[in-house]
Symmetry: C2
Subunit: 322 residues, 2 copies
DNA sequence: AATGATTAATTAATCGTTTAATCAAATAAG
DNA sequence: CTTATTTGATTAAACGATTAATTAATCATT
């Protein structure tokens, strides 16, 4: 590999001058800069990241810890972060926390040992990851998580959906959660509850076993099902079809997150999107400030979600119990 | 941060001795090793990756370039790679090639500039990424791609599915591809064609507009639809339901890749899984050899796929045209 | 007891880059 | 014409770890 030393030799100056010329610091005459630049890219010089990291104490690399990636939302966040990081000249080292909290902790440690400048953690549901004191960290979870610096407004998203469903005239609704240990899902349920308003009857069910109760509840008058994720909504849709109920004619259905499958299924799913781009940008803004020890990064910011109305929701066939 | 130098000072020896004691090289007395070890973890010493990388010329970091992550299979590969890499003491730096070939090329360059020891590239469909001469690279694509060192056996997977469908007695089948530019999908189609055998009538359709033709082809006698991905299969399923055809009673349906949505939908999708774990392991084996300049890494290996029979396939209602 | 072999530690150089301190030459000011 | 000041470069140290070469001390051998 060609180093600054070789350039120095070629041009006949000291390495310090080469460094100064290339980084634009110190005093170097204009035409010397020119000669050095020319020589550098003629020789195909690429600065050594290791040497820079060693000298500066900064790797320009961030660690990203993600939960099990089966949920297609996480890759989207990862991608947004990757794009945003790249724009800031930062690299992203991935760490998988697959499964339990202890592995998550291990992943954090490994990344720190690799010399990352900062960490972005999307916690396992129900866990509280801890980063070493001296490593700047941003946690992306949900607003009601006290430690969180950045998150989508899951409650707000729920409100949007709830208001939409209530606005269509539904007044007996099933709320479907996947795992009650997840604070995100709790917040979504809370939001939906708020959005629906006090007048609407609500049945909150958790887990896949809930599918079995759909039949009974619908026959007792429920006219809409609101799931805490698109995937769950797909499952509910399948369950409904088994008992010959159609969406949205018999039952309206909503999801969360706007996954690709939401447009692949029929009817296309009414759902709520989070602006992963904005979350990524803001996470990095905060993290950059923390790393540079800059004052008062705007903490606890919440990124609004947006309603995507498609064809899985409609007015109820007739008012059920009122 | 605590360095080797501070330990040396504490214990009252030279840094060389500390280094030797900690790495187990050179000559150090047993109890000196003990004292140094003790002091090291009392002070909370963590070796500097930057310094090591500078001295050794190896970063122990691999670059992973992935196409647009909307396809949920890629995260799964990323996760498998991440786990396999970790077991080998390697880190993974991600690069997003979102969209076009030129960005993919940029992503490769950026990773190389960050000093990765090697690259793993999952190419954009229809592109030929190039890594700089001196950077060991493994490409994960499909066996018919000449440059590829590792891949799932997409043709074999297709054969498995084709044989399964033919074995059930179907003899008029629709093959559904998403994008004909993708070599992977071409191979899958080829495999399915082979697996079905010469006696079966095949209609090959590409793209989402193909959904419109399903009605006609089925009424003309087609009894099964085989898609090149689970997502596409979900789309087909929705299209079928719109024209009141049920799966598998009226039409059998198969996918590819065993995505989570395959079990969320009803009936659960018959599909084919790739062993991402094995692909990851083998990729890293090959890459490690290339990096260490070891001889003859087993090239062009193909990892078999496995059939997952669920409830979206059944014997045709009655033999259509024979 | 003198020589050689072995053991345990140290010295010093190195990886590639940055940067504070220094220096010589040229220019400006008195 | 001497004294400041500015300019453009160099020297040398530093970042943290590794390692070949070296030295000093211990032990065994004849």
């Amino acid at each position: 590999m060609v180093s600054i030393k070789q350039i120095a030799q070629h041009v006949g100056v000291s390495t310090a001058t080469v460094s100064n010329a290339l980084t634009g610091k110190g005093r170097v005459s204009a035409d010397m800069v020119d000669r050095i630049r020319r020589c550098a890219d003629q020789l195909g010089y690429r600065p050594s990241p290791a040497a820079r990291a060693l000298k500066s104490g900064q790797s320009n690399i961030l660690g990203l810890v993600m939960p099990d990636l089966t949920n297609p939302l996480f890759p989207r966040i990862a991608q947004s972060l990757s794009i945003a990081a790249e724009a800031r000249g930062l690299g992203i080292l991935i760490g998988d926390s697959r499964g339990d909290a202890s592995r998550q902790q291990q992943a954090v440690m490994r990344l720190v040992d690799r010399g990352v400048d900062g960490l972005i953690i999307v916690p396992q549901k129900g866990t509280s990851p801890e980063a070493p004191r001296h490593v700047p960290t941003v946690i992306i979870n949900t607003a009601s998580d006290q430690r969180t610096t950045v998150s989508a407004d899951h409650v707000g998203g729920g409100i949007l959906l709830g208001a939409h469903i209530a606005g269509l005239g539904h007044n007996d609704v099933i709320l479907l959660g996947g795992d009650r240990i997840s604070q995100v899902q709790q917040d979504r349920i809370d939001g939906m509850t708020q959005g629906l308003g006090a007048a609407v009857t609500k049945h909150i069910l958790w887990g896949k076993s809930a599918f079995d109760q759909l039949d009974r509840l619908v026959s007792q008058g429920a006219t809409a099902i609101m799931a805490t994720s698109d995937m769950l909504a797909l499952g509910a849709h399948s369950a409904l079809m088994q008992i010959s109920l159609s969406v949205p004619a018999d039952v309206s259905l909503t999801g969360f997150d706007d996954l690709p499958l939401g447009t692949a299924m029929h009817p296309a799913l009414t759902t709520v999107v989070q602006n992963t781009q904005a979350i990524a940008e803001h996470s990095l803004d905060v993290l950059s400030c923390l790393i540079l020890d800059r004052p008062a990064p705007p903490l606890g910011r919440v990124i609004p979600m947006h309603l995507v109305t498609r064809h899985s929701t409609a007015a109820p066939r007739r008012a059920a119990n009122s």
